[in-house]
Symmetry: D3
Subunit: 131 residues, 6 copies
Amino acid sequence: MATVTLLDDDALGPEARAVFDDIRATRGTDYVNNFWRAMAHDPETLRAVWERLKTVMAPGALDPLTKEMIYVAVSVANACSYCIHSHSAAAKAKGMTPEMHAELVAVIGMAMQTNGLVTALQVPVDDAFKE
Amino acid sequence: MATVTLLDDDALGPEARAVFDDIRATRGTDYVNNFWRAMAHDPETLRAVWERLKTVMAPGALDPLTKEMIYVAVSVANACSYCIHSHSAAAKAKGMTPEMHAELVAVIGMAMQTNGLVTALQVPVDDAFKE
Amino acid sequence: MATVTLLDDDALGPEARAVFDDIRATRGTDYVNNFWRAMAHDPETLRAVWERLKTVMAPGALDPLTKEMIYVAVSVANACSYCIHSHSAAAKAKGMTPEMHAELVAVIGMAMQTNGLVTALQVPVDDAFKE
Amino acid sequence: MATVTLLDDDALGPEARAVFDDIRATRGTDYVNNFWRAMAHDPETLRAVWERLKTVMAPGALDPLTKEMIYVAVSVANACSYCIHSHSAAAKAKGMTPEMHAELVAVIGMAMQTNGLVTALQVPVDDAFKE
Amino acid sequence: MATVTLLDDDALGPEARAVFDDIRATRGTDYVNNFWRAMAHDPETLRAVWERLKTVMAPGALDPLTKEMIYVAVSVANACSYCIHSHSAAAKAKGMTPEMHAELVAVIGMAMQTNGLVTALQVPVDDAFKE
Amino acid sequence: MATVTLLDDDALGPEARAVFDDIRATRGTDYVNNFWRAMAHDPETLRAVWERLKTVMAPGALDPLTKEMIYVAVSVANACSYCIHSHSAAAKAKGMTPEMHAELVAVIGMAMQTNGLVTALQVPVDDAFKE
């Protein structure tokens, strides 16, 4: 159903294989999900996206769970079903409880609602909010 | 520039005035931002949105700052300029440092990118991600 | 601020001028709004869009005001500021009262909210809803 | 396939059960659709969304069928498949004929098109459209 | 799963049949895809969309393959799964190689990312970019 | 109006300055546009985005002008005003004629329209389009 085939390990060239090895080592699991198997047709972009994802999602001023929840929020607004599934699963793996999930969902719904109200009313930005 | 006039305090009916009083008391400031002044034409919706916002954004399993950052993320994906300004300001007021802001922005950018890649490739959801 | 210049009447070629004449005759006003002045660089598309708009927005199984409100709803979800302004104005000109406007805005907000909730939860479509 | 389980009636706590009872009584049917079963993990949000939905979608200055069509329009622009199915079904149940459905769809398509044209051309809002 | 039935050739009225004949003649194939079968309930819109599509996608200042790739790009940002599948297939039929597809996908991802960064930061448009 | 200040050259740290030097050298102009001045608060992301942009937008299986037009198409669907301005300007600088621009805009409008029609009708993907 993808617009490209999902590549099995056997079909990987050496550059994609090296990225898959790093995905496995970084995540401590042999499982490599479909996104990377679709991306593996373009090893250069595969590598660039994986390297950047590792950096951006690493612990920093924000913790990895908070980052996963932000990722889910963007993915919902973009209606990316795969992304919602994969990053909701990642958030759970990083400690998102059902209570946290429920609040995440409620905040997303609230933001969607006021985004719609504000945009329908074309409310001008308050001077107080400007940098 | 709004599609309705922004109501001054003098133009409020008693129901809208009561909501404005609660906004001021809850936030500890006399300032009421333009969103509520545009909403005040419809006191019933004004009240419902304000009451729900208070509940959803209150401390719970997620802290208020995390909730504000999730709010910003949704607002960016929906291109709601007013909402990005107001909730970025709210996040700063609740302790978001420049480093946290930079990471929030980077995660949003990353999510937008992989949303696009996944959707372009129409990657099917892994069984492993299904509930 | 547009990515093309807005064409004055003097700058129109004969094909664009004919469309402007029809816009004026159909609407019963000399005023031609900026959208058509930006479109006038491409007279073939100008004509096609104007002809189709006349047909689609004409009275039919749905009345013109209902159609304008549907137009506003789509434009809000797409964050098209110009479209929200122009079609909210058109709806008012066709009889949308402040009460109707307030309900339109509230329904848009409600729909945005449940769109977000449903998408975040990835709720499967009930068999009962399938054709 | 949802990111949470859909709760059967047996799995509901007392607060969610009370909301389900009201959904059934209000709609005059025993059937409760999947959205509410996914929401039932968070009884407080379940209740708030249901209560607000009842109010917003009730007859007012706009009739319930017009409101359902506006709901569909927003849901299309947000690509919410579930919402399109459920609110198209609701609109049909409230009297939307195939002719009305065809016009709804045509207006949505027209609005999407001019949203794209206007945004690509970055057309500035006419002073005439400003409040 | 569509919100209307997909019409078989036997179910077409004369106006829709004429459009289907033209689709077959223009494309040199007997196959008419599901989009047109769903649209065939509204022969007037069916005809208008088909006629306009033929004109817009014909060779001009841009070649048909470039136009298909632009179509895919818009469809990804709008999360239109059907459109991504059909226009990716059309692009392949018009000569899009796997290398071109990979670059198309990478550009879409890059654009989504900087769209998110720019919108999050609310960067003002440079005077240098204004017409 | 941005949510961060735009950094002047004097305010750059050494890592951001090095990226600005490369932007100037690569583009053959002293002008650095606002996007990079907003990004410069986060030199690591600034560098990553710039490096990736250089690679993705370089000549390859697709020429740079085609890539810019795809970029504009995504930016329109995401309603990113800044991105539409900057990448329309870049496309013009790379040879986009007014005729090509008009066709780009018409294809975007067409795609938006059928995205809306397809999504409203929830048309299932033809087997013929599946990989």
